[in-house]
Symmetry: D2
């Protein structure tokens, strides 16, 4: 049985609609609702709801908390945990900034650490949220250790990837 | 073959998501997309995309245009058209204001004139948009002539109905 | 608060998929699952799961049970119940046979008794199941007393309606 | 731009509902409809609709045609094509038989050849079809060359995997 941990930080992927205000925002994690729609065999998923923010509002302290959580989950070199992979739900606007920060802070990760997000909230029809979450969870069983962004059918390794705002996806910087 | 006309004015029901801006707003009518999901027999639906506004932004001139469109579609008393019913998609916040205005301006309607809207945009999962549109179209074949609001399983006749903001639906004023 | 009763007898609308057998059949009622997708105000729905059969397999005894349930729910003339309308989920193949039978057995119904079903099971995408259920429930608040079939945007009163197998809907016999 | 080819052979994943017959069966490929629901960047997918059969009805000749198609797409050792991966939609009942056959016939594949299918038809709600197709397409960019089955969050390499009929998934034979 594979053990993975899903860290939720917010972002468009988890924005929900408030009928009274008529607006979309990050209120509480909907990651359990998403996971119910996937059929995953031999996979045990722990979920850690770390924060619930639009990624444009993430502070340095928030990013430090993300790194702290990843460190805690992976354990020390001499004392690794049984966590086989980490998926981080994150707003796409500053996802790559967090990816670069993780690469800088965690020198030699022993497991795949995968960032993902969505261009349309999960709560909307035709959202890319469930697809990207599915790809990220699947990828934890296959990708080599390192920090990655997974979305829209592809995996890109940090350092390097950037968001292409025109196309609404992540691309390799060249 | 029943002839009905669907007038689109905007409102939450037709709000769509802009992936670049990350916001919901009224851009263009999605009424055709909604209609494709209904199976309607012996019903011919004309669609008139009159405006595309949040109902809080509707002006007196906008409401006059709605009345004008309804008059055009129903025809004069001596020269009725073949239109058997009118459905008006409208934001819920000022829907009842438009309903009262229609009652005041069109003294003795010969067909049902049905206002409807939604608390969640059609583009969201678990939206009440398609349900309310379905009920409104179905109601054109059954309700007696007059001005109505149809939503959430009920039909309420104007004058009278108001929006209950707490419950997120329309109720009879008492 | 409107009181209506939903009698479930099976039919295509409630067929579910068995992953081991790879077939669709009537196993248990899914009417609660359907009702969760509708937003109904001031409506209290009792559900009565009477049988779960393909309507081609309904016997005379089954139809007698349906009539018995309708009689029970409507009460006697001197002692009417608080039931304001009845919706019967039924396979489309023999729905009209049951409709004619109800008209023959219940001479002067005081409330609308509405039969409905679907051409595609609720469990399939693009099913007409939820639309027809929605229309039938909505219709209980509007239709005059009598026995009706409601589906695909229309209400047809018994005696008379037949299934048009080519078009996959109900039509008035002429 | 990654080039992959999707070979459609039928199976539960592509079964569609016939409203007149009231049954599910393999009629024509719905792979284009499935692909429209995925957002795939830098991926060009050719689709080859080879046959449309329940996998219990596949003959030796059918399996030989599948091998022939894979050979054609991968090219000879000296003349490889630009195809970077192959996904084969296949009924789950004999998927592993075809996987073993491919391993036996294609000694040293240069690209990942990935079989997938579904326990519930794509046309049904809560189907695993789109998830498995998504995982298989994603996996073409990451898995090492070889013959694989990908489904339910996992990739298993042939020879070896078998269908676990009780659990409704694929497992490693041990």
């Amino acid at each position: 049985m594979r053990q993975i941990t899903l860290i939720s930080t917010g972002g468009t992927i988890e924005k929900t609609y408030d009928e009274h205000a008529g607006t979309l925002s990050n209120r509480s994690s909907i990651v359990q609702e998403m996971l119910r729609l996937l059929r995953l065999e031999d996979t045990n998923i722990n979920t850690l709801q770390l924060m619930q923010k639009d990624s444009l509002e993430l502070t340095d302290a928030d990013r430090a908390r993300i790194v702290g959580a990843v460190r805690l989950l992976t354990g020390a070199e001499e004392e690794p945990t049984d966590c086989g992979g980490i998926v981080i739900l994150h707003g796409t606007d500053t996802l790559c900034q967090t990816g670069e920060y993780l690469v800088g802070e965690i020198a030699d990760p022993k497991i795949p650490i995968i960032l993902t997000g969505a261009m349309r909230p999960f709560e909307m029809k035709r959202s890319d949220a469930l697809q990207n979450l599915n790809e990220a969870i699947f990828a934890t069983g296959i990708l080599e250790p390192g920090v990655w962004v997974v979305a829209h059918g592809r995996a890109l390794k940090f350092p390097g990837p950037i968001k292409d705002r025109q196309r609404g996806t992540f691309v390799s910087a060249t």
